[in-house]
Amino acid sequence: MNLLHRKKEQPISRTLLLLITGLVLGFLVMTQAKYFTDYVSTVGRDSTENIFRRIQILKTTNDELNEEIALLETQLEDLNNQAQSFQTIANDIKKNEIIAGETDIWGPGIELVIDNELNALWFTDITNELFASGAEAISINNIRLTDTTIGFDELPNGQIMINGVILQTPYTIHAVGDKESLRQVLESPFGILQRMEATLEEFSYSLTEKDRIDMKQV
């Protein structure tokens, strides 16, 4: 009697077991898919859609363009005045020498030191992120990035060369600009440092705000 009862019960418990297994499996498949999507968006090299960020960038850019226009208008006015034109040219030369990296400069900013070996794309992305966030000058291991800088080149052995110089770890990246906002951008959620942490094994860095960063002319 007992044997008969067991034989009847067995298929029901099996069905239940299979159903639960299937449920757990389905749950796991979807969880995995969700985490994968999140992971991709974390390590993806470009930021995700954010209308407020877009508006903020546009507004800041337009403010800066208006400032540049005011500056150029003053310059044009001064040039029309023969007496002032000499000084205007001299000032313009001094300003352009800063931009071209042909004079020593200093200013507040940040120092980012990375101990890991990096490939060229990380250097491209870090410097891009810094310039996009308002950095006015950047140097890597004391090599200042200017219009004449030869880009990041990856050698067959994985070493990175810039301007004919092989970069050695630790990589020290200096950026002159609003030190607080530069640090915030680098450390922001889904920012470059978080993406590097998600991608690189044992990623180790230090980020410091500095009151004075000096950069030599090129």
Partner: protein, 242 residues
């Protein structure tokens, strides 16, 4: 228990699991919480800023041209040396048109994809990171000058994106992208032949139909940089102390 019943049970379980998780996933569509009119207003706001930016940039170019013309008119002998130095610097930092032999790189999304409607990662579209990698490769190849669509690339240029919109010098650019280059075409081709170079992009060109081509050109003209120079925090070491 029959085999078919087992299979049905497994599939039923998987289906329920999928549905439960799908429910989780659809619980936080942040952007969909905006009413339609608000989204429309945001789009209009963005477009307004873009229009303003275009006008401001063209004003900057026009002022820089006027300044150059005035400098030419004021060509006083004592200032000639200074003018030469100024022009040399302007050339270096992208404040003059650059003409020369070079090539064009055409880059576009896969024809089967509509950039406006996609969500999340899509291998068939051109990302800012792709353009950044190409620009870095060109710089590593020591080219003389680069422009993307009408945007001159200078040392401080940034190539970023917000969602699927590419921003170069903070200007909104839409595909197709044309990268104009003044520089050596042959040496770029040699670099491109290296399998390790632009690996990800090359793979997406082959597998997802991204459009990528390089064409030699005898006369490439790069426009003047039309953006701003940020010099708010930077100071010359010979003029000031901390």
């Amino acid at each position: 228990m029959s085999t078919s019943l087992k299979v049905i049970s497994i599939f039923a379980g998987i289906l329920v699991g999928l549905l439960v998780m799908a429910q989780f996933r659809t619980s936080t569509p942040i952007s969909s919480s905006y009413p339609l009119d608000q989204l429309e207003a945001q789009k209009e706001l963005v477009q307004g800023y873009i229009n303003d930016e275009t006008q401001l940039k063209s004003r900057i170019v026009s002022l820089r041209e006027k300044i150059d013309a005035t400098l030419e008119d004021n060509n006083i002998t004592s200032q000639t040396t200074n003018l030469d130095r100024l022009n040399e610097l302007k050339e270096e930092i992208g404040l003059t048109e650059l003409k020369g032999e070079g090539f064009y790189i055409a880059l576009d999304d896969s024809p089967s994809i509509d950039r406006e409607t996609i969500e999340g990662e899509e291998a068939g579209i051109v990302y800012a990171a792709d353009i950044r990698d190409i620009v870095n490769l060109l710089r590593a190849n020591n080219v003389e000058g680069i422009a993307i669509n009408d945007q001159r690339i200078i040392a401080t240029s940034s190539i970023t994106s917000v969602g699927n919109t590419v921003l170069v010098n903070n200007s909104h650019l839409a595909p197709p992208f044309t990268i104009s280059v003044v520089g050596d075409y042959e040496s770029f081709l040699i670099r491109m032949a290296d399998q390790a170079v632009l690996q990800d992009l090359k793979q997406r060109v082959n597998e997802y139909g991204i459009v990528f081509s390089v064409k030699q050109a005898p006369h490439v003209i790069l426009p003047i940089y039309n953006g701003q120079f940020r010099l708010k925090y930077i100071q010359r070491a010979d003029e000031s102390t901390a």
